[in-house]
Amino acid sequence: MDKRIPTLAEAVAGIRDGATVMIGGFGGSGAPIELIHALIDAGPRDLTIINNNAGNGHVGIAALIEQGRVAKMICSFPRSADPRVFTELYKAGKIELELVPQGTLAERIRAGGAGIPAFYTPTSYGTDLAEGKPVEEFDGRMYVQERWLKADVALIKAELGDQMGNLTYRMAARNFNPLMASAAARTIAQVTKLVPLGGIDPEHVVTPGIFVQGVVEVANPKQEEILNREGAVYP
């Protein structure tokens, strides 16, 4: 079994118009910038993107939105230091937004990966974000029913990876990446270092390879935060 993919272009090949794509990262940490840029180059449109945010500056998800590829964002916090791209399209009614509380977003993705079609959470009970959702009382407290989230593809960023798809992450760059890996039909991980089988201690594997379909090495990945401080624009 060898899940290594030689190039970024091959890694994102086959993502079709209208696909639902989970993209890892929280702000810039853990954002698979190179995979996102390869996705821009590949050209699919009308994408539904699931990420905590809605991009920042003019790289990564912001660039994908700026290129007009995104029909809908599912996220918890579409504001950022420089969120102009999303904001302008949103106000112009040209991009759809499904706003989800952050913990509910994480849990819905985890549920998608774990085969749990629905669960109850206290989060958002009594608020606008619970509108239209079933509610139920358990042990005297009210809860909102939330549904799983799944995707056609997940694009994630990891630190170490091996050919079976076992992955580790770097510090807070872990965030949504392991969850999304489990919830997509096809998960592509860009890894900063590809190691031989056995190069990751079995105790330290965070994402077991069963959740990963492709691994592509990007040896010196760009950090969104640094790109934005440099005023980078993609393409």
Binding site: G115, P196, I210
Partner: protein, 228 residues
């Protein structure tokens, strides 16, 4: 069951061998406790399945030599296993996320009874004793392909392939293929469809020890298995 069938029928190892032939290279596979564990021995040359065990190990190796067991490194049957390059450990919730989330390609389980609608009964004999279910009910609704390996009949000679299960169910409509000591049978659209049978066994003799109609859909191949 006639003496003829007893002479013809496959051994458990041979049933496991046959089931192993259908496992693709790189497949993620869970093998039930006991007899199904034997399937791991018979992977075809050049193919390497990745084995999952409910208690939180993926990609493990075979049993260690006696005396070299590490009892913190066991499978769901509580038998000692070994590490391989690429093994990963995880907790029980992540392990069953793999199962329930549809990430396993194949689960191979034993059976008391299998019905033509795919229902499986393999956890409770229904009378007395201590009921114990383990991970079977999760596995039957998780893996993309749920196969059963079993003797074609009970020790008393009664059919195990039935129109309807009589024992408490493990899962509803979950089994898609049954490897028995006499045949390979698919389950499709609520029917048993015969794919392979032991050479020299007549359709009539096979049907006589099967508790539901064996339909035909295309040719029936000889079930040919080496001495293993």
């Amino acid at each position: 069951m006639s003496n003829d069938l007893s002479a013809l029928k496959l051994t458990n190892a041979q049933i496991a061998w046959r089931a192993a032939q259908d496992i693709e290279d790189g497949a993620y596979v869970n093998l039930g406790i006991g007899f199904p564990e034997m399937v791991a021995r018979f992977q075809p040359e050049g193919r390497h399945a990745v084995f999952h065990t409910e208690n939180g190990v993926l990609g493990f190796g075979e049993a260690p030599p006696e005396g070299e067991e590490d009892w913190d490194l066991i499978n769901a049957g509580k038998k000692a296993i070994t590490l391989r390059p690429g093994t990963a450990f995880f907790h029980h919730a992540d392990s069953f996320a793999m199962v329930r989330g549809g990430h396993l390609d194949v689960a191979i389980l034993g059976a008391y009874e299998v019905a033509q609608n795919g229902d499986l009964a393999n956890w409770s004999t229904g009378h007395g004793g201590v009921p114990a279910v383990g991970g079977a009910m999760d596995l039957v609704h998780g893996a993309r392909r749920v196969a059963v390996i079993t003797d074609h009949v009970t020790k008393q000679g009664a059919p195990k392939l039935l129109e309807r299960c009589t024992l408490p169910l493990t899962g509803v409509g979950c089994v898609t293929r049954v490897y028995t000591s006499l045949a390979v049978v698919d389950i499709a659209d609520g029917h048993f469809v015969l794919r392979e049978k032991i050479a020299g066994l007549t359709m009539e003799a096979l049907q006589a020890v099967t508790g539901a109609e064996l339909k035909l859909d295309g040719p029936v191949a000889d079930l040919i298995v080496p001495e293993v």
